[in-house]
């Protein structure tokens, strides 16, 4: 009992510590990449190539004073960063990082089965992630209201409206993924890790894309993939959808009154969600831990030694790069244009593609939906 609990804590640390490290170096990568794109150097003073810059920033933020505005609502002001980071971290509990072989020895007999490399192996993991990413908005709203500042309040209002709008398009895009994954028949012999699970499980979704990179859902679900990626950018309030921060008109939006570690926690939550959305893009639309050379003669054998986790991380990194790339190259959307894009473009596109997909599944369109 106690050992089980300890083992769970170790697993949590194994996920959270690399995540925190990634967040730190995502900020470094962001400044460096955007710097090069804008013909600047980016940070290059602290350590070789500026590599220690994130650590210097973290230390600086740790030692700064947390100022609580005198007319703010103190309890909500302090709890808002926690409301932002808790769902951003909790969502990682159901992310599968790959498959591992588990051997168990019972009475001298060793049996080897495959298991998903995941902290909490629940069936409705996709729904769980959708639910948790949707409650991240409370941190923003509560921070804006508790600060008792007009800039913060305007920022949180914009952010709330934006997140609620884009959640619908995001949900519809996921409906398409679920429909496509439901075609997959789980074979207890080849997929012992997936027995008893339905298409709403992330592991099933990844395995249903096996058979080469043209089987991954980015191709048959192309419009939904684009809608999901862009909605992901909008959900995290990143450029070009960063009206919630809007440095030029409302200073920094909802976290304008925050300083020191309280501000850093908001920052951490934002970047943890960026990494989460990137990993979800890789899992849902780009085959997760499956090798991109699957089904290609020679190349498949040459790269068979690469562990699945490496592919997953490389795919995730590509989407993380996209987030930075968008920020460096797109001008900010106007507020009414954001709403128009969400409601009048994305939602109709997803609904149309769900109908197209339903027809493709009903007529068992090869090569994606003919495996019955």
């Amino acid at each position: 009992m106690f050992l089980d609990l300890l083992w769970i804590v170790v697993k949590i640390l194994l996920i959270v510590l690399p995540l925190m490290f990634s967040v730190a170096y995502l900020t470094y990568a962001e400044r460096k990449i955007i710097g090069y794109m804008q013909v600047r150097c980016g940070p290059n003073r602290v350590g070789p190539y500026g590599l220690l810059q994130p650590i210097a920033d973290a230390v600086k933020l740790l030692f700064k004073e947390i100022i609580i505005p005198s007319s703010s609502n103190k309890f909500l002001f302090v709890i808002a960063p926690i409301l932002a980071i808790a769902p951003a971290l909790a969502a990682w509990a159901v992310i599968p990082f790959g498959e591992i072989d588990v051997s168990t020895t019972v009475a001298g007999k060793t049996t080897t089965t495959q298991e998903l490399l995941v902290l909490a192996d629940i069936d409705a993991s996709l729904l769980y992630i959708l639910a948790l990413t949707s409650i991240g908005v409370y941190g923003v709203i509560v921070a804006g209201w508790a600060s008792n500042s007009k800039y913060a309040f305007l920022g949180s209002m914009r952010s709330a409206a934006q997140i609620v709008s884009y959640e619908i398009a995001m949900g519809f895009a996921l409906v398409g993924v679920l429909m496509a994954a439901s075609v997959y028949q789980i074979d207890p012999v080849t997929d012992p890790a997936l027995v008893g699970k339905s298409a709403i499980n992330l592991g099933v979704i990844v395995k249903s894309q096996s058979g080469g990179f043209w089987h991954w859902y980015w191709l048959p679900l192309m419009p939904l993939f684009i809608v999901y990626l862009v909605s992901g950018v909008a959900e995290t309030n990143r450029a070009p959808f960063d009206v919630a921060e809007g440095e030029s008109e409302i200073v920094a939006g909802f976290h304008v009154e925050y300083s020191g570690m309280a501000f850093a926690v908001f920052f951490l939550a934002e970047y943890a969600v960026i990494i989460l959305i990137s990993m979800l893009c890789a899992l849902l639309f780009c085959g997760g831990w499956l090798s991109p050379f699957e089904g290609i003669p020679h190349l498949e054998e040459w790269f068979a030694w690469v562990p699945g986790l490496v592919w997953l991380i490389m795919k995730t990194m590509f989407f993380m790069f996209c987030f930075l790339w968008f920020r460096a190259t797109f001008p900010r959307y106007r507020y009414d244009q954001i709403m128009r894009l969400g409601w009048k473009v994305f939602i109709p596109v997803t609904i149309v593609w769900i109908v197209v997909l339903a027809a493709a599944i009903a007529y068992e369109l090869p090569p994606w939906f003919d495996q019955v």
Partner: protein
């Protein structure tokens, strides 16, 4: 420790939080606090549902109510900017209606509790509970209860359309932009290059 005991401790812990937060929803003086306590109530409620292994319902409750409905509620409450509501205003006036609603709710609960649990054991017997909760719900919703489900969907759609129609009024004189036209604009529609002879300054 016994597993049942742990489940009992968790259940009573969450129930206490649920009842306290539900009470605070109606007693808190600040409307924003009320809304946030309602969020807490939904959250603990979904935790109790997870204890009952109704994982789909629990996650759907968070997704729909906490993630969308309560966000819009908070939105409205914050916009109204009523910080301190006078308590017990019109308490006597609304008491009869309140008692009526309470009696109906209690009666419904009694009917569900005395008859409803039989249905669950029936479902268990027919093998529905063997597969995952999500699958079982989906297969029942789209077969046995298809009409009720579709009627509920149509009513919700009607409510959305009604809300849009109520707030939609065609104003004249707005500087409304047509994105289609904006995209189709060419440089020659906006810029005219003029060739001029050089002029001599006297």
């Amino acid at each position: 420790m016994d597993k049942n005991l742990i489940i009992q401790i968790i259940f009573y812990g969450f129930s206490t939080v649920l009842i306290l937060s539900a009470l605070k929803v109606i007693t808190a003086r600040n409307t924003v606090y009320s809304a946030l306590f309602l969020v807490l109530a939904f959250f603990t409620c979904s935790a109790i549902w997870i204890l009952l292994r109704a994982e789909f319902l629990a996650i759907a409750l968070i997704l729909v109510y906490v993630g969308a409905v309560m966000v819009l509620f908070l939105f409205v409450v914050m916009m109204l900017n009523i910080n301190e509501q006078p308590l017990r205003e019109g308490f006597i006036k609304y008491l009869p209606v309140g008692i009526l609603v309470a009696v109906v709710v209690v009666a419904e609960m009694i009917i569900v509790i005395t008859n409803g649990f039989g249905a669950i054991t029936e479902a268990k017997a027919s093998g529905l509970m063997v597969t995952s909760n999500t699958k079982a719900l989906g297969s029942v919703l789209y077969t046995d209860y298809l009409y009720q489900f579709e009627i509920a969907a149509v009513i919700l759609l009607l409510a959305i359309i009604a809300a849009i129609v109520l707030t939609l009024h065609h104003q004249t004189g707005t500087k409304h932009q047509d994105p289609g036209k904006q995209v189709q604009v060419k440089a020659k529609d906006r810029v005219r290059l003029v060739k001029m002879d050089t002029e001599k300054v006297e």
